[in-house]
Symmetry: D2
Subunit: 330 residues, 4 copies
């Protein structure tokens, strides 16, 4: 595939991020766009000289080589199945579906069709985390023994969002589960979750927690710890610490700037970048570049629907562990 | 008590540390010393113009106002009981005993006697951790939500030591349990432990683990995570992260020096100070100063036999959790 | 000017950087391009759907609203004068000319024509330095007292380049002179330069130095120190320290990544970003965005031909001071 | 000399520091003490079981093997000469005298007598700077090219002190001149000074400056820059940057603690330690330990009256350069 012409489904915030990423890749462009809000689609179409179409038109179009699914979560599975049906490759935002059964059925359809499907675990493409992974693969810390993933959002979403989000483990920690699987290089065998409502009582009333930790055990004996909070006054906190037999790798936060002020109160530095659009701006760009390259070279993208299922399995186990108070064998 | 004359029991490495600390406190000195190795006792006696005596002589002496117990762990409980019997204050290295029942009985005797008893949880006196605690008490992070304690030794002890140590949870993580209790400001209600043998197979053969993590839940919803390893190539890793509603406090490692070298390979800084004698040199000094001040002012020291029991209770629960694979309600 | 159509003169490395920057600005695009190497011009023309033209065609074109001069230094002055002659705005890479007299004559022609002329002092648009300046303007350090600018290249240019470069002070430190003027907020009144040949003897044979420092005095009493080296093993070193009555602001280097490795040798972090294209990637983009915005809003750009003259005056004074060994009054 | 019994001349702040340092060295103690304020002498005598004596008694005493001169600056030269006269070793606080001629005469007397004389350039014994020097000697940065010494006091002394201090160059920067000589490993050949009154007008009225910088040139081409300020809101700023052909070594400030707070305003760390007594506490101790070791081993101490003269020569040249506005050849 020399040139890749994309049909973009979903023209909201993350759809725009992907559209910009595509435009920066030589040999790729957005040719068609669809959104439930026509104005949103028009805006992107104008910017990138693309055409606003209906979903049916897009799936029938001869001007579309591949799809980007950036619409709401509940539409992912049926759209993936339509991609499978027309036999064209697709990049889809995570998750496949909040229901494991539904996600599994969709995944089966995708696999049966043989299409290339990449799932948007953007953090794997973050230059910091990718460098850390590369160093691990180069043997810098030897065998991994303890992995500590810290992930905190700057501020909690409204309770309305919480209700449809699938909960902290499926909505937020899902990224960390993928990160853990990727860095561990093996599937966790046991999971223990604990959680609390400390940030916003409305989150508790919606049946969710806003502060949580999960411990993952593995066959090799490596231990992974994930901690999440829905609110950090100092911004988006995204750190990884990988400790092994030969030493420790730490990926710290990217700060808003490198300027420090030394004054009578102490030495003040900048906060971490505010949220995912800032921190993962490069990751989103690199992710789509990777997808285009995979299509052009006929190679398999680094993430697939399998990764989506595996992370969801961990999220479901965490929900169960939190509910029962017991660890869950995987 | 204007002047405090100490009888030092145990003239090994940590006994010497305490002796030096005492000498630096105005109004305090070592007057008598005893050790199973007479040469060790002589060395300290010479240095500080003290007298080498037998245990019986020391407990009968009119030249001793208070005791420092720095002998082997199995002697702590009987010695504490002798202190209680003669009604004189005592500073005792942790733990009271590796058996909770024995420690509890000893503790009861101590309390019945009414003597002042301070247990050596030295890390509470580390200037970094003490400052972090002070900032928490000043409300800097508001309500504590997640506490992460990292504690790694530079290299594992020999398997012979492991066998008599009581195991990682009672020997090493006991310090972190005390730290967790101190910083949480409440007793944990539930504990889940996991552990592996990744550093030295001989540790596994001795029935212990060398890599472990514990999750503590509390009434307030705050979550504490402790991770331990018996080996870190880069030195003694002693860090605390306290995350709360208003922000995060982090106490980092003290480095061997502040010099950085920027070269073709990157920017290299110094390692953390090697081990507890280096890192906690100030803490040991401040700890004994605190004990002397408590005796002189008739106040209660910051740690007591109760803290020893409470930390041991958590260690025993961790042993049980690791064995059963289930969380333990406390 | 709603839309700004640019004629790009010079399609080399820096021309490409500016072309990419222009394309990212809504309402701006490259319509025509010229280079002494037709292949270079073709490459940019292809990428941005622009037209390869001759210089005469470009200056006569009705499809060009403004010029970008990114050709070799010796062409800057005559090209600026052609821009003045056709009465269209121009963004020109520094310097105007290596000869002050020539630069002054050109500058007079530009001013007489009334065209908008922005000179490319890209570092003022670096987010770190811009933030530092903003903090200074907000009064964070109060009155500036000591300014220390460190500027080191990763590796020296070939001696052939040195010979036509105008020398370290006019070619390299000119950026730091501009930075000093900008941050001081006043013109230096006295300058003392010292320099050595420590990096490459060929640089000395070419009549230049490769290691230098300059001290600037001012009316207010503030002191500015600039140090330069043509070679730093650890990459491009670009730091500013502004010390004042209320404290100190420091803008550190931007590192290649945030990952740290703790091992037996110490704690290793990444090097500074390699060179100007990496470190100032954002600055180049923001600089052109600023120029387009100035054209669209009819406002004066932040830098002008006056700044080019003023920095060159300092560079010439530094050459004289180095030669005579005496300070130069300005 | 197996045991070293010291006569301490001057029982003020720095005398107490030295007395404590001596007591911590095995085989060394203070046996006699004298001060113009008898109460000050009594206090130290009590603490260390020493005897309060008169100057005449001390110089005649058979209980004194060596002297520590920690009295006021104007007494240093005559006291050093008395040490020379009685032929006993002496540790003397810098400077020998504020007058170069007087210092030179005194130095000649000391040398003629053949006594061991160590001058208190304490910073050479700071563990950070000593480590940096050791790394330089190990060839880590190769040939030194640029040396930047930053030295700022937390707050200015009263104008009364300024008047008798010899001025900023002789009183404050003298330490940095010694540091520059030590790290350069060669004598500067040319010096250019600039200075301003920015901190306190009273300092200007006393004929001195409070903000200054000096540029030192050398035979090898290495350049050294020293900047001083009498006031830094953030504490005692003591940093060294040594840049060479193979990289850069930086010795940063020692902070009050390692705790960082991340909050809505940014990430706040501790200030540098307040002033010289805190920052150089270790240096003062190591310095005296070094002197005792030199006496016991019969070796030459690391600093001598020659270093005092050489630093004073640079200070005098700086005064002259500031006055004339011209560089001074050395």
């Amino acid at each position: 595939m020399a040139e890749v012409r994309f049909g973009l489904i979903g023209a909201g915030r993350i759809g725009q991020v992907h559209a910009l990423a595509v435009q920066a890749v030589p040999g790729a462009r957005i040719t068609e766009v669809v959104d439930v809000l026509p104005a949103a689609a028009e805006k992107i179409a104008d910017k990138f000289a693309a055409k606003v179409v209906s979903l049916d038109e897009m799936f029938a179009s001869s001007n579309v080589d591949a799809f980007i699914i950036a619409s709401s979560t509940d539409t992912h599975a049926p759209l993936l199945e339509r991609c499978a049906a027309v036999g064209k490759p697709v990049f889809c935002e995570k998750p496949i579906d909040l229901s494991y059964a539904r996600a599994e059925a969709c995944s089966a359809a995708v696999q049966a069709s043989g299409i290339t499907c990449m799932l948007g675990f953007n953090r794997r493409f973050d230059p910091q985390f990718a460098y850390l992974k590369k160093q691990m693969e180069a043997g810098v810390i030897g065998k991994l023994e303890t992995l500590i993933i810290t992930s905190r959002d700057p501020s909690p979403p409204p309770a309305e969002y919480i209700k449809v989000s699938g909960g902290l483990f499926r909505d937020m920690m899902i990224h960390d589960f993928d990160m853990a699987r990727w860095l561990l290089g093996e599937e966790p065998t046991r999971l223990y979750a604990t959680g609390s409502v400390l940030v916003d009582p409305a989150i508790g009333e919606a049946g969710d927690v806003d502060t949580a930790s999960v411990t993952l055990s593995t066959q090799s004996g490596a231990i992974a710890i994930i901690t999440n909070s829905r609110r950090a006054t100092y911004g988006y906190d995204q750190r990884i610490e990988a400790f092994g037999e030969k030493g420790m790798l730490q990926a710290g936060n990217q700060l808003e700037n490198t300027v420090k002020f030394a004054g009578a109160e102490g030495v003040m530095g900048a906060k971490p970048q505010f949220f995912f659009l800032e921190r993962y701006a490069d990751a989103y760009r690199i992710e789509l570049t990777h997808f285009v390259a995979a299509l052009q070279q006929g190679s398999k993208p680094a993430t697939s629907e399998e990764d989506g299922l595996a992370a969801l399995r961990l999220a479901d186990a965490a929900v169960q562990s939190l509910k029962t108070g017991q660890p869950v064998d995987l």
